[in-house]
């Protein structure tokens, strides 16, 4: 399982880890019952304090994305299609928040901004299979 932490970003590591797990779940790369690496092994692989990993896991558990079973690795909880849809939309919205702020700083009207987003959608390269590319 591939996680990557970016120390240049202003986002704390535990948040980055949460976002990446959510993306894997939202895109179906991780499905119900799939096991997550243990806190210790992921901490050593990523080179971070184990508390960072356990914090991310604890939040994901409270958001009902992961499930804890005594003495076993954490697993992905079964998600309804509606939850997955919500998860995917949240993800896109988060990445657009900054663009929305930037649009008003640049004095770009909402209609113009929507046009630009439409153009970006049209210009994106074709992706044969989303799951494979992640």
């Amino acid at each position: 399982m591939l996680f990557h932490l970016d120390s240049q970003s202003g986002v704390p590591f535990y948040r980055q880890l949460m976002d990446q797990v959510k993306l894997l779940v939202a895109t179906g790369v991780l499905g119900a019952g799939d096991e997550l690496p243990s806190i210790r092994s992921l901490a050593v692989t990523l080179g971070v304090n184990p508390m960072t990993v356990s914090k991310a896991y604890a939040f994901l558990e409270s958001e009902r994305i992961l499930e804890r079973r005594p003495g076993r690795p954490l697993v992905v909880r079964a998600q309804t299609e509606r939850q997955l849809e919500g998860c995917r939309q949240d993800h896109l919205r988060t990445s657009l928040d900054e663009s929305a702020i930037l649009a008003s700083r640049l004095g770009i009207s909402d209609d113009q901004a929507l046009d630009i987003f439409r153009q970006a959608l049209d210009a994106r390269p074709a992706e044969p299979d989303t799951k494979e590319s992640i």
């Binding site: 120390s7 240049q8 970003s9 202003g10 986002v11 704390p12 590591f13 535990y14 948040r15 806190i39 210790r40 901490a43 050593v44 990523l46 080179g47 971070v48 304090n49 184990p50 508390m51 960072t52 914090k55």
Partner: protein, 297 residues
């Protein structure tokens, strides 16, 4: 009970010029505290006091609830220490150094020492003086953790190491941390190492502690504000705003660190200063450090 406690500690090497000037710090079991600060800020002095190697002129220091000077051997057996400079005898072989440490520490764990030795691929028969800097550091780390200390003190452990060796050093420390839950106090100039390993960050400047915060909180609860020169009359005005930790003027722009989340800080400052072009953004550890050092009154 706190593993380590400093209360109003003052230490001066020269009369009237304190290196530590009233430092109070409490480290709880299981915390990993990263000390940041410029060269000469007092980090090494602080760590050496904790080791009982230096005695402050005033203030109180306890390690595991005791004065580290009262029972030097007893306290030292529960601590692992890697100093900033190479302190192992250069004429001894790696094997002899390990045998010596094994005899000094009743809790020495042969299996752990062996595991680390083979991980580092140490040339066991070589003299310390013939080792590379990285290898010498690895021997020092092996000696510091093979007796399974409850407190690990690392003074600039990765100083002068190449990135790959540094990373391995970090991973070894994290591995030990994960299996033992030890308390760690370390100093470093490598912000990424601090960010990766520490749960808590303490900044030392001019012998005093400035910032003492959870590492995640630094990224989520602080920001860098950029304000056009004409909108603020003076540094003091900015420093007078609640939450402002530092302010300086560079190239026609005020740069100020605020202990506030970026989004709300931006709208608040725009309103308070009546200046719509204020910008606040999240700030990485390195930039924050540089701003604080450069812009503190």
């Amino acid at each position: 009970m706190a593993v380590l406690e400093f209360r109003d500690v003052i230490l001066a090497y020269q009369r009237g010029r304190p290196v530590l000037d009233g430092v109070s710090l409490q480290v709880e079991a299981g915390q990993v505290v990263g000390l940041l600060g410029r060269n000469g800020a007092g980090k090494t002095t602080l760590l050496r006091i904790a080791m009982g190697m230096l005695v402050p002129q005033s203030g109180r220091v306890t390690v595991f609830g005791e004065d580290p000077r009262a029972d030097v051997v007893g306290v030292r057996r529960r601590i692992g220490y890697v100093s900033e400079v190479q302190e192992l005898p250069p004429f001894m072989s790696v094997k002899d150094v390990l045998t010596l440490h094994r005899s000094l520490y009743p809790d020495w764990d042969d299996a752990l020492a062996e595991r680390l030795g083979s991980r580092f691929q140490l040339p066991i028969g070589a003299r310390i003086g013939k080792l590379s800097k990285g290898q010498a550091r690895q021997v020092a780390l092996l000696c510091a953790i093979s007796h399974r200390p409850e407190l690990l003190i690392l003074d600039e452990p990765a100083g002068g190491l190449d990135p790959a060796t540094r990373r391995e050093f970090l991973e070894t420390s994290i591995n030990y941390l994960a299996e033992s839950g030890t308390t760690i106090l370390f100093s470093s100039h490598h912000m990424t190492d601090v960010e990766r390993m520490a749960s808590r960050l303490v900044m030392v400047h001019n012998g005093q502690l400035w910032l003492d915060s959870d590492v995640d909180q630094v990224k989520e609860g602080y920001c860098l504000a950029l304000i056009p020169e004409d909108d603020v009359a003076s540094t003091d005005l900015l420093l007078g705003i609640p939450g402002c930790l530092s302010a300086r003027l560079r190239d026609g722009v005020w740069r100020a660190i605020f202990e506030r989340a970026p989004g709300k800080c931006e709208t608040d400052l725009q309103r308070e200063l009546g200046c719509p072009s204020v910008r606040c953004s999240r700030v990485g550890l390195e930039d924050m450090f540089i701003e604080l050092v450069g812009g503190r009154s």
